[in-house]
């Protein structure tokens, strides 16, 4: 049978894998933004302990390979605590890889959020404080809304990176686009055509996301003029 025809027949399976890839990416993106926001606020806090915790978190997750973090979550942690029993044999690996992805992306998002907050003109904070606003009110109503606007393009770029990173869940046997590719190749031996389709599917999604980031960046620059 023609190899391209094989790839075409396998397309529904691959698309199913793509859907899982997108799900992992979205979960990681949402959780990592929450983590990154908390860690960035800690990093800018006047309390040394919070700054310390946040720095250790960022350095550890940026200083080790994501694949190692995924193996650590899925194999190392369950060997010292009954995570598989708590979450179920089938569910825990999915939770584990999601946690590893979110924590890893969160470390990068922390730096994006921090830069966004520091990029807001100091006069904005002073004006808010001189009205009698508290530190919390200033952050919530004045700094973060302006910081968030600057953060959107780099966050969308980071999302493109996250989509690529999710392919590292395949080695631990969690289903995503890459994993579906490996399985289909093992069954059909059509390595060239199937991996070409896999690469093409990744490319379409990631390309669309990075174009979006570029577009948002250009619009922001126009706004700021």
């Amino acid at each position: 049978m023609n190899a391209w025809h094989t790839a075409f027949v396998q397309l529904p399976l691959l698309l199913h894998g793509l859907l899982r890839t997108i799900e992992f990416s979205l979960v990681a993106a949402v959780v990592s933004v929450i983590l990154g926001l908390i860690a960035a606020l800690c990093k800018l806090s006047r309390f040394g302990v919070l700054r310390g915790i946040s720095t250790v978190y960022v350095e550890i997750f940026r200083g080790t390979p994501l694949l190692v973090q995924i193996f650590y979550m899925v194999f190392a942690l369950p060997s010292i605590m009954p995570l598989n029993a708590w979450f179920g044999q089938d569910l825990y690996p999915i939770i584990g890889v999601s946690a590893a992805l979110a924590l890893n992306e969160g470390a990068y998002v922390t730096e994006i959020v921090r830069a966004g907050i520091l990029g807001v003109d100091r006069g904005q904070r002073e004006a808010a404080e001189s009205l009698g606003m508290t530190g919390y009110q200033t952050m919530r109503h004045i700094i973060l809304p302006q910081a968030f606007k600057r953060m959107i393009p780099p966050l969308v770029n980071q999302f493109a990176q996250t989509i690529k990173d999710t392919s590292l869940v395949a080695p631990v046997g969690v289903v995503d686009l890459m994993y579906q590719g490996q399985i289909t190749v093992a069954q059909t031996y059509a390595a060239f055509s199937i991996y070409t389709v896999v690469a093409a599917l990744y490319f379409i999604v990631i390309f669309a996301v990075s174009r979006l980031a570029n577009y948002l960046e250009r619009r922001l620059q126009i706004d700021q003029r």
């Binding site: 004006a127 009205l131 009698g132």
Partner: protein
Amino acid sequence: MISVEDLHKQFGDHQVLRGITTRVQPQEVVVVIGPSGGGKSTFLRCLNGLERPTSGRIVVVGQEITNPKTNIVNVRKQVGMVFQRFNLFHHLTALDNITIGPRQVLRMPADEAESLARSLLAKVGLSGKENSYPDQLSGGQQQRVAIARALAMRPQVMLFDEPTSALDPEMVGEVLQVMKDLAREGMTMVIVTHEMGFAREVADRVLFMDDGCIVEEGQPDALFAHPQEERTRVFLSKVL
């Protein structure tokens, strides 16, 4: 209204204020002049706690801000500040710039804050600009919104740090006019400015600051016409 005793401020080992003592009476308009780098901004920023003094005692509207137990927020609520570079909140409309203080800090209901903001915009001559964002306004208009924003807190004192220095010359007049109106209404004000004509017209008292000290102070006519100190004479000969 404001009492400052032997105020010192240093940044690292750089002495910026070296013993400032003065008082501001209710309804008094005090204008601070002097060469740049002389500590005028730092002095003003100490009055609402944006800078923390190294030593000395400051009492503003009955509250000693140099006492660590004083809640600085309670002081700032009653002290309006206007900055050289306006510092309007870029993500908020003119109206929201004005309402955010009363709403967040004074917990004023939205409709009340809004009608207050509209009346203040009218007062500074900007009716119709409610929904404009700062970037859509000229410098003079932005500074007038900034004054309205400070007034919305119904402050006891207004501090102005070179409010017209960042403006094109043709916009200086409209901002000074708003400040003159405030002075006439009896607002207590401390104003750092290089506008000597304005100082002469509205000031009850002029302070000449140089090198972290009040070198000379007095009524505007006397100080401008007959400066007692050499440094004041030199400065005035350059700016007048």
